[in-house]
């Protein structure tokens, strides 16, 4: 059972044209000794059977919990038009637009996506996407190493531990020195960070809002970083950029992040969207596909893949990155999402997230034994100190119908009683109040 259209006559005629006696004859170059020793799979199933099987599996996942878990990956509303547009198979069954004349739709969509990322981050150039926020951060670090010819990277420990761990995994065979700066009271330790800057430093990596949800203005740090000839890299949460100071406004050289919050379902960890943008001087160091505007023979505007001499299919081992397939369809989702919201809508979305979280802070601070950490302003995520182990509280809250947050003890020593709570625009006042009541009940 498969999607092949060949009739018996087709096969006979085609074999005859080829001059082969049988289908098996076509595989004669594979010596008998090298044939598959096993291929023990079940028989095919009907579309109905597979669908029913997978519906049963989907029903084994608990999706009825009210979600307050974020930690870099957020439960935002996705407008129906995002799905409607990205379900058009003229988009999703095409591939990388190598041939521009029959790919202008995709190329223009990516050019517009690049512009959106540049506008959000306040920088000059972007690309057609990377795999996720973690690999984007790794690519940014490698850009800085190539651009400066140095090999020391200073990483703030307010950067998502998942991304830090990915960064260290990827570079474990390269001679790169990493220095981690501790977070004090939820904020970057400026003294410690500046003390570690030297003329070997290729880049400093900061996250805003940081993993604890704390919002900062890093302009002062970036200024010091530049004095040492190093680059400043920001890892950012795109929805927050509706209201927060952009990396460009703070002087950052490169911005990266996870684009999942822009209309991409949580989908158990992927597919997601890594985005990257940079100052234009760094464009030759960028990884991946880049779309540029040009003109055709009649002078009409059109779009092409450009600056390809950076890429693996031309430069091979000298390429800036090995990336080939990217996350274009997720980039399209993000672009459609932002286009639907528009200039004011994105601002309003960000504002609603901020307000909901502030409201939740007020409500939760009234729960006996709960302390809302307020040493820094936050966007839509914040830290609670609980009177007992956050792990235990999370477990009990599941029974109450809540995915109540991310226990910080998983990532940070000595923070077993701390819970990271995300409140997106989707959470209602009623849900927030019920969350507080349930928390009070389990403590």
């Amino acid at each position: 059972m498969s999607y092949v259209p060949h009739t018996k006559e087709d096969k006979t005629e085609m074999l005859k044209a080829i001059g082969a006696s049988s289908i098996e004859d076509l595989f004669k170059d594979i010596p008998k000794a090298l044939r598959a020793k096993s291929f023990d799979l079940s028989q095919g199933m009907s579309e109905f059977e597979v669908t029913e099987h997978l519906k049963r599996l989907a029903a084994k996942n608990a999706i009825s919990l009210v979600n307050f878990v974020g930690a870099g990956f957020y439960d935002h509303f996705i407008p129906a038009a995002v799905d409607a547009i990205t379900s058009r198979s003229e988009f999703y069954t095409a591939y990388t637009p190598y041939q521009p004349e029959c790919s202008q739709g995709w190329l223009q969509a990516i050019y517009e996506y690049q512009t959106i990322i540049c506008e959000l981050t306040g920088l000059d150039v972007s690309n057609a996407s990377l795999y996720d926020g973690g690999t984007a951060l790794y690519e940014a670090a490698m850009m800085a190493i190539r651009a400066t010819g140095r090999n020391k990277i200073i990483v703030d420990s307010g950067v998502n531990l998942i991304y830090r761990t990915m960064l260290y995994s990827y570079t474990s065979n390269l001679s790169i020195e990493f220095v981690e700066i501790p977070v004090i009271h939820g904020q970057s330790s400026r003294d410690e960070l500046i003390r570690n800057l030297d003329d070997k430093t290729a880049a400093v990596i900061l996250q805003n809002p940081n993993f604890f949800g704390a919002v900062d203005d890093h302009s002062d740090i970036v200024g010091r970083v530049h004095k040492f000839g190093a680059l400043a890299i920001a890892s950012v949460y795109p929805v927050s950029l509706g209201i927060l100071k952009s990396p460009g406004e703070m002087g950052f050289d490169i911005a990266t992040g996870e684009g999942q919050s822009l209309g991409i379902p949580l989908s158990f960890g992927g597919p997601y969207l890594g985005f990257i943008s940079a100052r234009k001087e760094l464009v030759r160091q960028m990884p991946g596909r880049i779309v540029g505007a040009t003109v055709d023979m009649d002078g009409k505007r059109g779009f092409v893949l450009t600056l390809q001499t950076r890429e693996q299919h031309i430069r091979r081992e000298k390429a800036t990155s090995n990336i080939c397939s990217n996350e274009a369809l997720c980039a399209l989702r993000a672009a459609v999402f932002v286009a639907l919201l528009g200039r004011d809508g994105l601002k309003e979305l960000a504002e609603n997230n901020y307000r909901n979280a502030e409201f939740a802070k007020d409500v939760l601070s009234k729960v006996p034994g709960v302390e809302v950490k307020r040493s820094s302003p936050t966007f839509n995520e914040f830290t609670l100190r609980l009177p007992r182990s956050a792990d235990e509280v999370v477990r009990k809250m599941i029974d109450k119908g809540f995915a109540s947050g991310f226990p910080l003890g998983k990532f940070y020593n000595g923070m077993d009683n701390y819970l990271l709570v995300a409140v997106t625009e989707k959470r209602t006042k009623e849900e927030i109040k019920k969350f507080a009541d349930s928390l009070e009940a389990v403590l």
Partner: protein, 482 residues
């Protein structure tokens, strides 16, 4: 077409986001706020929908056009897999749920999908275990080379080189290089196979790995493949299988049986998940027994009671290569595809893919040069060298095909064939479609002799004519500005 930004109108707004119940709170300090508004467009929902619907119509895609883009396996993408992946029970699941205390029970369905997909891929390739985490083929390559590096490091060996044939995908040498290796390139012999003598000369106790594509990028199965692998093993090196071309091998030969230690698979090629205009794909990596202990964390395990869990215990793991468990949505679609086709269906897919490719090869070989004239697997690589003598290059042929409603074959690759025309029809195309394509290709060969200028003028019927790529590169315009 106008850009989104050029359609902006001050004061117009989309009512999508408006929310009447947002609580009134103390505003965020101006110090942390954007000083300057973005230049994002303000449009109505219909304007946005019409904009993108009209853009979509400017693309060729598998659902609209024959798309024989060699090396990319542009087969039909079954629609039901899209529906399954969009089920709330899969799409709305937060990836951190199973990592929460007491959260183990919350995502049993998704964990089962990952576990079962891994099991199926292991059997299909003859490998011991898989990591489903790599998010694309090249990402799988990098993961594979990192596994190889961890293996050698664990043995105290400082091997420096990775061998690749000159016919390899560009991602192979690029992946080896960014993982910290120096790349050694072996030329292709006149017979179309990697030069065995040259390979033996270059192979040494400093070789970490040999990366091979099988069938190779010329669409040919190399009968010496086992010998190449055995020689590498004798030298203490590991052997890497680039699974880009696995579609031709389903049920016929398995990398595990051929002696490969690591393999990556492109789910978006062989297992029918859509290419999405460049991605997302998925590049799971399978390993033989030597490398299991180095696989990335987490691993999905099945407990004795039949439930599934995440395991982070691997002491020698290369660490995290993805934030979570890979491109789950893509893996889910591939899993649905494998279940649907089953054993016979997968074998039939390989057989018809090879039949279609050989049919095109047989029908066109009298009109186009076939530098390596052999029985092919899933794709065949012609050269337009003969037409180029009249000034008609592979690029011109590609542009002419576009005018005729075909997405062109791959023409920029493999680099070892001048004027390459790499055709991969895939198994889901009918004989009628192939016959029409063949007729057009023969027509182009005729024109190249009689009226080359008419080929070089193409395309004439597309939204744009040939574009000035030199200008694009010399005066980069990479974003809209007012």
């Amino acid at each position: 077409m106008k850009l989104l930004f050029e359609k902006h109108k001050e004061g117009r707004r989309n009512f999508l986001c408006s929310k009447t119940c947002a609580p009134q709170v103390k505003p965020l300090d101006a110090k942390y706020r954007r000083a300057k508004d973005t230049l994002l467009p303000s449009l109505s929902e219909l304007e946005v929908v019409r904009h993108y619907t009209n853009l979509s119509r400017l693309n060729y895609s598998v659902d609209t056009n024959f798309y024989p883009l060699g090396s990319c396996t542009m087969k039909y993408n079954p629609k039901f897999t899209e529906r399954v992946a969009s089920l709330d029970g899969f799409a709305a699941v937060h990836p951190l749920l199973p990592q929460l205390s007491g959260g183990g029970v919350l995502t049993q369905g998704s964990l089962e999908v990952l576990y079962e997909a891994e099991r199926l891929l292991s059997e299909i390739t003859g490998m011991e275990a898989f990591t489903m985490q790599p998010m694309a083929g090249a990402h799988g390559e990098l993961t594979g080379v990192m596994l190889i590096a961890a293996y050698h490091k664990d043995r105290g060996s400082r091997r420096k080189f990775v061998i690749v044939p000159d016919s390899s995908h560009g991602t192979n040498p690029a992946s080896a290089a960014i993982a910290g290796y120096q790349v050694v390139v072996i030329p292709t012999g006149k017979d179309g196979y990697m030069d065995l003598e040259e390979y033996k000369k270059k192979l040494s106790d400093e070789t970490a790995a040999v990366m091979l594509t099988c069938p190779d990028t010329l669409g040919i199965f190399n009968p010496h493949i086992k010998e190449i692998a055995d020689l590498a093993h004798k030298a203490g090196a590991l052997v890497y299988y680039d699974g880009a071309n696995l579609n031709a091998m389903l049920g016929k030969a398995r990398p595990g049986d051929l002696g490969f230690d690591v393999v990556h698979i492109n789910l978006h090629k062989t297992f029918g998940t859509p290419h999405g205009g460049g991605g997302p794909g998925a590049g799971p990596v399978g390993v033989g027994p030597k490398l299991v202990e180095y696989l990335p964390i987490s691993r999905v395990v099945r407990r004795n009671d039949g439930t599934y869990a995440l395991d982070y215990q691997a002491r020698k793991t290369i660490g995290y290569i993805a934030p979570f468990y890979g491109n789950f949505g893509v893996i889910l679609k591939a899993y649905a595809y494998m279940l649907r086709l089953g054993k016979e269906g997968l074998i039939e897919a390989a057989e018809m893919a090879v039949l279609n490719a050989n049919y095109v090869r047989a029908k066109l070989k009298s009109r186009y040069d076939l530098p390596y004239d052999k029985n092919c697997m899933h794709e065949c690589v012609f050269s337009a060298a003969r037409q180029a003598k009249n000034g008609v290059h592979a690029l011109d042929i590609a542009k002419y095909l576009i005018d005729k409603g075909y997405h062109p074959p791959t023409i920029y690759f493999p680099l070892i064939v001048k004027e390459a025309i790499m055709i991969e029809p895939t198994e889901t195309e009918t004989k009628e479609t192939l016959d029409e394509f063949i007729e057009v290709m023969i027509g182009i060969a005729d024109l190249a002799e009689k009226d080359p200028a008419s080929v070089k003028a193409a395309p004439l019927h597309m939204p744009v004519k040939r574009l000035d790529e030199t200008k694009a590169a010399r005066e980069p315009n990479l974003r809209w500005r007012p």
